[in-house]
């Protein structure tokens, strides 16, 4: 992954830009999108819990890698939708999905030795798509880009808000 902070900032930038078209994407939904931006990193639990221990315990195959995929992200979005009150469900799911999507897309651009990324579209397909290799999760390049996008989005957003207020 680009690191978690970069993911959160990418999600914020995407959501803020989308709010210019979808005005319901106000602060709380931007927060939801930022939370969504961390969802696929739930797979990092595999760093702390050895998958083989789980396999031994349950007697079945098991891999935490499933949690980085698009399919798992979709399930988590549904989990988020059920955690909010029913009238907020659609908007929350939408915001979470925006955030999770930015995460999946930026992860799919990480540098890999094979030149291909990971099973981002699983279970639709297991194919590891080619990656342009733009980022490493262990270097701040992605964070710098994310920060620029987030600050830019925030500035543009303030300008639009002020322009809208001036018209009234």
């Amino acid at each position: 992954m680009p690191d978690g902070l970069a993911h959160v900032l990418f999600a914020y930038a995407a959501c803020t830009a989308l709010s210019w078209r979808y005005e319901w994407l106000t602060t709380p939904y931007r927060t939801a999108a930022m939370a969504g931006g961390l969802i696929p990193d739930i797979s990092k639990i595999g760093v702390f819990v050895d998958a083989w221990r789980v396999r031994d315990a349950i007697g079945l195959p098991f891999s935490f890698d499933a949690l980085e995929t698009g399919g798992a992200a979709a399930v988590w979005v549904a989990v988020g939708a059920l955690l909010v009150v029913p009238r907020e469900r659609r908007r929350t799911a939408g915001a979470l999905a925006v955030g999770a999507t930015t995460h999946l897309l930026t992860d799919a651009m990480l540098a890999k030795p094979t030149g291909h990324s990971y099973a981002v579209a699983w279970p639709l397909t297991r194919y590891y798509f080619p990656t342009p290799g733009l980022f490493k999760s262990t270097e701040p390049g992605a964070l710098v880009v994310a920060l620029l996008l987030a600050v830019g989005a925030w500035l543009l957003d303030r300008r639009r808000t002020r322009a809208a207020a001036a018209e009234r």
Partner: protein, 183 residues
């Protein structure tokens, strides 16, 4: 649908079960070179002779630079592999992941590498913790638990003139002019 607490609770359990199921399913998947899914260190090194001539991905720490030799992570006792054909300078001590053809139990004809600078994992962990704190902070600020509806809902922003004049169903004032917290 899924309005009552019971239905939502059942739904949540079902979804978590689905996530568990996805992890089990993924665990059954083997390598698939056509999809660019290759065997990794842990799969190869119990018995590397079976992988000679095949493409694999190995990870470890660079222990010598000319020629490039890697001590593989997770092998006990540590296995050393020579990376043949690394086309750029790597320093001793960096973590490396190498993709290539296993020419022998001790040599990888390298097709691509990615290195991690020392301190890279500390950076990634720190940045991720900061990101997590930002999200938790914003969630606490922007959402509340509706005990009546048994769920989370957005807080209305601090009232602006607009909200006092005529609040919409959402707590209007969010995202409108004058709401400096719309960030």
């Amino acid at each position: 649908m899924f309005e009552s607490r019971v239905e939502r609770g059942v739904g949540l359990v079902a979804l978590l079960g689905a996530l568990f199921g996805l992890c089990v399913w993924y665990g059954t998947l083997g390598t698939d070179p056509a999809s660019w899914v290759f065997p990794r260190t842990a799969q190869v090194f119990p018995g590397p002779e079976r992988y000679i001539g095949r493409r694999v991905v190995l990870a470890g720490e660079v222990v010598s630079v000319d020629p490039v030799v890697v001590s593989l992570a997770g092998t006990d006792p540590p296995v050393r592999v020579l990376l043949d054909g690394v086309d750029r300078p790597v320093a001793a001590g960096v973590r490396i992941r190498a993709f290539g053809v296993l020419e022998s139990e001790g040599t990888l004809r390298t097709l691509g590498v990615v290195t991690t600078r020392p301190g890279g994992f500390v950076y990634a962990a720190t940045a991720s913790i900061v990101g997590g704190l930002v999200v938790i902070g914003r969630l606490l600020r922007d959402w509340r638990v509706d005990l009546g509806g048994w769920g989370l809902e957005p807080r209305a922003s601090p009232p602006s003139l607009r909200a006092l004049a005529g609040a919409g169903e959402d707590g209007a004032g969010t995202g409108e002019a004058g709401d400096d917290r719309d960030a």
